[in-house]
Symmetry: C2
Subunit: 252 residues, 2 copies
């Protein structure tokens, strides 16, 4: 049984704790957070602490705190030469203090406290600065997911940036659609099956092949009609930019 | 049993034919296309024709052709006072020739020949210019879907425009993500579960509430890092515009 200490109590930390708790190969030996209150409800299941000097010995320490806090927390760990990883897509392994063996354990998914997630379908991107640590890191990951991948810092940075496009920015497009429909008293709900199908389509087809619509067809009449309908200047700019981008991609 | 004639042989026509064929309440009595070859494989299942003067009598005629061809085709129909509808989200009922009773039968989904679709989950937006035609129109729709909605022309135009954002433009964001990951030799596939989860999230949560990410948090460090990573000027512009839009929406 691999022993893990989780540090932090945000969404990622909570989902990791839950996934590890349900696994057979990994045991969460201790959960640290600077505010004990956030994790107090778990005190009958796992040892909790808000005191770094009380940290117990474990095979791996997973730091799941905000990017800005990673370096400082790693410096304050009261031990050396143990395996310490963070869960950030944006930080590098070098952001961890070098007194310990360093790595990254980046689950590429959006987590919220409310929504349950099937962790077995969450890709975990792994990196270890020491080759010999990789096997352990991989064992910890495969305890909770079927999708693991060795990813270096540049690749992880690209994935994190790409994730902003497919998650944060895509969600903002949903928001724009919400505003457009609401303004005419039409139901945003009617778009929900289309939203799902659009996401499903690129599971098997490349986004290049899945592209359809007036921009790709260069249907000028519809494009003009749409630009006239849009009231917000920002939305008009967005429409124009994305239309131009589609036409660049598809050689119009 | 309601009898239907389908006119046209694009993706929507094919999917409608398939859905009606599987239904108990509607029978496709005839299928017209100007090129017989496209629908020839169906000749043992349904009467096919490329000759408008051969059109048979039916309860409803569904014109599923490209927007530009709707008006002309409706003018050339050799009968009057029958119920004729088109399937376009962009055209209005008035684009149909007024010699017949007019309406719209707009399935709000993306159709491709390759991908099978569960039509029972496709919202069909309905409009009839004559009140008395609505019941029939609704019966035809409920024969193949569980989601029907009365939608006027302005609402339909808004839905069609919003669909461009959640489908065509969202797919282009997937494409940008594909380019970003490929450029670093990272796997686009790792983003697929995130793409699904992003779409799933807004099934229950409003896009406003589902928004996360560096733009919403106003995480300037990450935004700066991302802009530096982006090589294409178009992608930079897109990143900036969507970031500004998220910050406007969330009061930053």
């Amino acid at each position: 049984m691999i022993s893990v200490v989780i540090l932090g109590a945000g969404n990622v930390a909570h989902h990791l704790y839950k996934a590890f708790s349900a696994s057979k190969a990994v045991k969460v030996k201790q959960w640290y957070n600077r505010h004990l209150k956030t994790i107090e409800t778990f005190k009958n299941e796992v040892a909790i602490t808000d005191n770094l000097s009380e940290l117990t010995k474990a095979d791996i320490y997973i730091i799941a705190v905000s990017d800005d806090a990673i370096t400082d927390l790693s410096k304050r760990l009261p031990f050396e030469d143990r395996l310490v990883v963070h869960t950030s897509g944006s930080a590098t392994a070098y952001d961890l203090d070098k007194k310990n063996r360093r790595g990254v354990f980046y689950p590429l998914q959006t987590f919220s406290k409310a929504a349950d997630i099937d962790f077995s379908q969450v890709p975990i991107c792994l990196e270890s600065l020491r080759k010999t640590d990789y096997a352990l890191l991989k064992s910890v990951a495969t305890a909770i997911t079927t999708i693991t991948k060795r990813v270096n810092s540049d690749q992880r940075a690209a994935l994190h940036l790409a994730a902003v496009f497919v998650n944060n920015f895509t969600n903002q497009l949903y928001r724009v659609a919400h505003e457009i429909t609401e303004a005419e008293g039409a139901e945003f709900d009617l778009l929900k099956p289309l939203i799902i199908e659009t996401a499903n389509k690129v599971q098997d087809l490349s986004p290049f092949k899945a592209q359809t619509g007036p921009a790709k067809r260069n249907d000028k009449k519809t494009i003009k009609k749409h630009l006239k309908l849009l009231k917000s200047e920002h939305h008009k700019d967005l429409y124009k930019l994305l239309t131009a981008l589609i036409q660049d991609t598809h050689g119009r």
